[in-house]
Symmetry: C2
Subunit: 179 residues, 2 copies
């Protein structure tokens, strides 16, 4: 039986950081440098600290996030050897449920609805690997945690880190090598 | 730490059987007797076998399902001793995602969004108990399977069966008694 991988959406499949920066620039005319976002929670990375909270409640926000570079090709590749599940915390913002479902249909049409999970807390979703950018998910996962680098998580070092989708493929390829 | 219970929506929290019968009567003027639905898949329980397939794709269908008798009180009671997760297969019919989320908010407002899971295949959702009406879910669950009686499942006997929410509470109370 194939091993299972849980893959987060925001910050992993979807480049939500870039989307925040783009929306902020559109609203405020200011291009925030990613260096200002390092090590702080997302709302605190912007001069107007109410912006992120407003964006995630705005219809259309989640539907229009750009795809993380390399994600489509990497997920296709992983699906050759793993059972891939999309595991996204989508319950907090109810309007995003249909937007995230449509987003997946547009950008990852090769992933079956059977392999999509929208949840709140991820701790009862059990996969052999979990690729996520948040400690609140990775700290409680029962499989092997893989932290996808995001500005907000750069100061956490207690999980295996990957910086991009090439890193994900390389890490998992190395896992396959018999000891 | 509290034990976890996964609870299905359709056929368990939500009386989808009654809803099919009501919608069928409204459309066809025929009240189908539940005895005609015993042991057959839901679409085959009605003279017009296309009806169920149409209803589940109709906006508003999932939003208006009646609550299963006793479910609200029983879930409240269970939450005193268990971590309760709602685990619903909602991905196949994308329009039902927001409808199911609103339905839970209306009828079970005391359940946190953190404890809601909408998925396709339930096999990577792992709870100590799973209350569900479908073998396709119960057969693969890693915890203890509890089959909630529905017309379509009456001929399956390989899972612990409960006929109503009082049965659920009685079964779980018995589980608590030290051997």
């Amino acid at each position: 039986m194939k091993k299972t991988i849980g893959i987060d959406m925001d910050g992993v499949l979807a480049d939500i950081e870039m989307h925040f920066i783009n929306w902020y620039e559109r609203e405020h005319g200011v291009e925030v440098d990613r260096s200002a976002m390092l090590g702080v929670l997302e709302p605190d990375g912007f001069p107007d600290k109410t912006a992120v909270g407003r964006y995630v409640h705005t219809p259309g926000f989640f539907r229009t996030i750009p795809v993380m570079p390399g994600a489509v090709e990497a997920v296709k590749k992983l699906m050759e050897n793993y059972e891939v599940y999309i595991v996204s915390a989508a319950m907090e913002f109810p309007q995003c449920l249909s937007e995230k479902r449509e987003w997946l249909q547009e950008h990852f049409p090769f992933i079956s609805w059977r392999n999509m999970i929208f949840c709140g807390d991820k701790r009862v979703v059990v996969t052999d690997y979990l690729i996520d950018d948040h400690c609140k998910n990775l700290d409680f996962c029962k499989g092997k945690a893989i932290m996808y680098t995001a500005a907000h998580n750069v100061n956490h070092s207690h999980h295996q880190r990957v910086d991009n989708w090439n890193d994900v493929l390389a890490f998992l390829a190395a896992e396959e090598v018999p000891a």
